[in-house]
Amino acid sequence: MGNLLGISLSGLNAFQQSLETTAHNIANVDTEGFSRQRVELETQPPRLYGDNYLGTGVIASSVERYYSQSVMNSLRDTTAEYNRLDKYTNMANRLDGLLADESVGLSSAMIDFFDSVQDLANDPAAASTRQVVLSSGEALADRFNFIESRLEDMYDDINGELSSNIDEANELAETIAQMNQKILVASNKANSFPNDLMDKRDNAINRLSEIFNITTITRGDGMVNVFIGKGQTLVNGTDTSELSITANTHDFSRNEISLRSGSGIHEVSEFIEGGAVGGLLEFRSETLDKSRNDLGLIAIVMADQFNTQHGKGLNMNNELGAAFFTEPVPEVYNGSSTGAMSATITDTTLLTGDEYHVSFDGSDYTINNKTSGGTTVVAAADIGNANNIPGVTLGVAGAAAGDTFLVRPTEAGGREIAALLSDPKEIAAAAPVRTAASSANGGSAEIEFDSIPDNFAVAANYTADFASTITITFTDPTTYTISDGTTTVLGVGYTAGAQLPIVGPPPFDPGFLINITGAPAAGDVFTIEQNTDGFGDNRNALLIGDLETDKTVLSASSLQETYSHLVSSIGTDTMQANVNLDAQNAMLTNAIQTRDNLSGVNLDEEAANLMKFQQAYQATARVIQTADTIFQSVLGMFG
């Protein structure tokens, strides 16, 4: 009889716990990271009554959470990958929108500039067309600077985001360590693990996997160790290693991630994969650097080619053209090296947008192309040779073994380019010399200025602005005399159709080429003189205009083509990232679904459980009532 009450009480107790757990599940339907719980019911040990074992009721043996470590691990991996792609795509979309935009991209400014050069060629003497060339040249340089400053904003944003992500990661690591401590204490106290604390810890670890890829190990004492990158310990039981932001060893403007461990602080950026941090680092080193270097390449090639051609023309002050654009120089980062490296661009036709890591072992330099891979080893004596880096000549002073240098030949291009001229008269639209056949000539020969070769050097006693007048007098149809008024060279042979740089020893090789065609007669005189006041001459303007479509970049593509390659390569990257992100999103949804299918609360299910436990509770209560009735009737027998 007493047992009836005892059994019923055990039932009431057990179902009360079940009801409470159901209530807990319902209450946490929206709690992030919560795993639904259930009460495990067991029969109580039977008692021997006579020859039979009689049941003694029920006992709630444990409260379990619905949880699978493998499901959780796959969720974390997917989360890290999703966040990497999400961050990468986010940044790539920004860059993509910037470069291809009609109003802020480079394309429209470049077209405007060459429009103005063409107008100059059509009306070279007009102050207005010259002014437009100056202002649109300035606008083009500004556009380079503007795009560059947007790129720098992105570098700054990446620095900022890395910093805030690392702060968050440190806090989460701290939380995990604290949870480890609490779980250790709780489990020691009760000989079971506190489900809700473990959920909280799992939740913190999940959030950490949004920041970077992690691996975890659950220890025997219930604590969890967390590792980042290639096995660097972030959380060890109740201890954490602090992450910090440090400056890049070469480029101090660049934030890197370091981890404090026993022996000091070590940079771990290169080991970090996945998560928002992984996405930011990857975008910075693969996409943003390339964009900045390529933009700089376009700026540098344009400035150099434009200045070179401009320098071969004569301006309205009757001087050879001065530099129109500043020519940006390479960026060299010496870091903490003993030696100092310098770099000069010596041939823009070989230049690429790649960047290089140079290390010195005491006897040889190893030049590693960080963009396209590939390593060359150069003996110390040869480091100053041209084109160890294509188009660039290096110089090193006082290098010691172990020194490393970072060389970015074109990084500064977009930032440094500027238009230099302010006076419309300084634009050199005319060719430097003009030629004339004497009106007394009897022969049919004609004279024409051809060109100035790229490597032209003004001979020692020839004035820089071609100000001497050269006279060619034919003594017979195959021989001429050449004179600049002070020096005369007699009896130079002439072959019909041959190009003359005016032959022979200086002073008569002023560096340009002259064509005389047709048949000269004895006594014919041709003069080559400075194109003084040749304001209507557009020959140099036409040659400058050709730079728009000339294959100036690596002799393979024009400036505009190089830019559109950049736009399409960033576009392809972004599109690819978008596609990958969509796919990864599906994977993440799937992983969350798998976890929720197991651990998430379903209210309908809980409602059904509620009814089930309520009924069981009511039934048990009814047993007590029955026991009471029986007890009363037994008592009544004595009443």
Partner: protein, 401 residues
């Protein structure tokens, strides 16, 4: 399969957001009319757009250049027309003046009109388009022609400005004053004839013609007449006093004299020791020719000898005026040919631009029909997702407890 309540909620919301973002992209496409909103929508297309836009810009630029060069050529053509008119009038006046019946007084009035016309010619040669002299070569700010003490100087140069009007298509945008006014040979273009000022006879010399250009040797030749016993003979000598042909060739009035591939007539009777000079032609400016006409018109015709010298000189000047007009006509024809070429290039470029614009439109413009139907479909999808979400959210077992 078991599904959690929060998951139903999350999946529903995600579907809604996804559909909304696609709808917004489509809506942006519709409002801009562009298929490619940023390069990643179609990287190859975006790069193609940039390249096509540049090609169109380059061709449009050629069109502008062609327009400019056409205007300039038109100005040159009309100026050359003016030069031709002036030269025609001068030639008329020269023909009037050449008529021996005019008195020196009426020749003075002819001479006055020629002088006016010479100034007109100078003004045309110094034509400016408002800022630049059109016949000064490269030195467009230098006044190309000036006259000091009867000497006419060209201050420009021989540079002809070239304008790009198409891919690899260049056209000369301006001829120089040298080409038009200076680069003209005197005499008949090969040689000049002149009666010596000391001649006393009535012999006149014609401008002559070239019968065999290969036999012509440039030099200064002198034809000297000798009268022996009433018989007139002549001897041709070169600059080295060498006799050309046969010495003392008998001469009858009106005979042509020919040697070394040239031929000319001597009309009237030269006196003993009268000489005529034959020289190879050299360049003589148009202004100098007209100036020579003025000198010729001032010559005396009182005596038979004077009259003969006047006739010889007038014959030479008239021929030189013809050569000047020929030169102007040749250059006018070249200008016309260039204008035709420019017109053709403009047509070609226009067609090319149209073509490129069609390609550009095909790459970047929206197919409205397609996108609008997509838009409607996406709208319907979003509405369906919203309705089903609201319905499912309303379902709960708790409603029945």
């Amino acid at each position: 399969m078991r599904i959690s309540t929060s998951e139903i909620q999350r999946l529903g919301v995600e579907a809604l957001i996804n559909k909304q973002s696609k709808l917004s992209h489509t809506q942006l496409q519709l409002s801009t009319g562009k298929r490619i909103l940023q390069a990643s929508d179609d990287p190859a297309g975006a790069s193609k757009v940039l390249e096509l836009e540049q090609s169109i810009a380059v061709l449009t630029r050629y069109q502008e250049s062609a327009g400019t060069v056409e205007d300039r050529l038109a100005l040159e053509e009309s100026t050359l027309g003016g030069v031709n008119n002036v030269l025609t009038r001068i030639k008329e006046l020269a023909l009037q003046g050449a008529n021996g019946t005019h008195s020196s007084v009426s020749r003075a009035s002819i001479s006055a009109e020629v002088r006016e016309n010479l100034e007109g010619l100078m003004a045309l040669a110094n034509t400016s388009d408002g800022t630049d002299y059109i016949f000064a070569g490269y030195q467009t700010t230098t006044k190309p022609f000036s006259e000091t003490g009867g000497v006419y100087t060209y201050n420009g140069d021989q540079g002809r400005r070239v304008v790009e009007i198409g891919p690899d298509r260049e056209v000369i945008g301006a001829d120089t004053g040298y080409d038009i006014f200076m680069d003209i040979y005197n005499g008949n273009g090969t040689f000049t004839t002149e009666a010596a000022a000391t001649n006393t006879g009535a012999g006149t010399i014609s401008v002559g013609t070239v019968t065999d250009s290969t036999s012509w040797v440039e030099d200064t030749y002198t034809v000297t007449f000798t009268e022996t016993n009433g018989n007139l003979t002549y001897t041709v000598t070169d600059s080295g006093a060498n006799v050309i042909g046969v010495a003392d060739t008998p001469f009858t009035e009106g005979d042509s004299i020919s040697f070394r591939g040239i031929e000319f007539d001597i009309d009237g009777a030269p006196d003993d020791t009268d000489t005529f000079t034959i020289d190879s032609s050299s360049r003589q400016s148009m202004f100098e020719t007209v100036s020579n006409l003025l000198t010729t018109l001032d010559m005396s015709t009182e005596t038979a000898a004077d009259s003969a010298k006047f006739t010889s000189a007038m014959g030479k000047v008239l021929e030189e005026l013809n050569l000047a007009m020929d030169n102007v006509n040749t250059i006018t024809a070249q200008v016309g040919a260039r204008m035709n070429a420019v017109d053709q290039e403009i047509d070609t470029n226009t067609a090319a631009v149209l073509n490129l614009e069609q390609s550009l439109s095909a790459v970047q413009d929206l197919d409205y029909a397609e996108v609008i139907s997509k838009y409607n479909l996406q709208l319907t999808g979003l509405q369906a997702a919203q309705q089903s979400f609201a319905k499912i959210q309303g379902l709960s077992l708790f409603n029945y407890i």
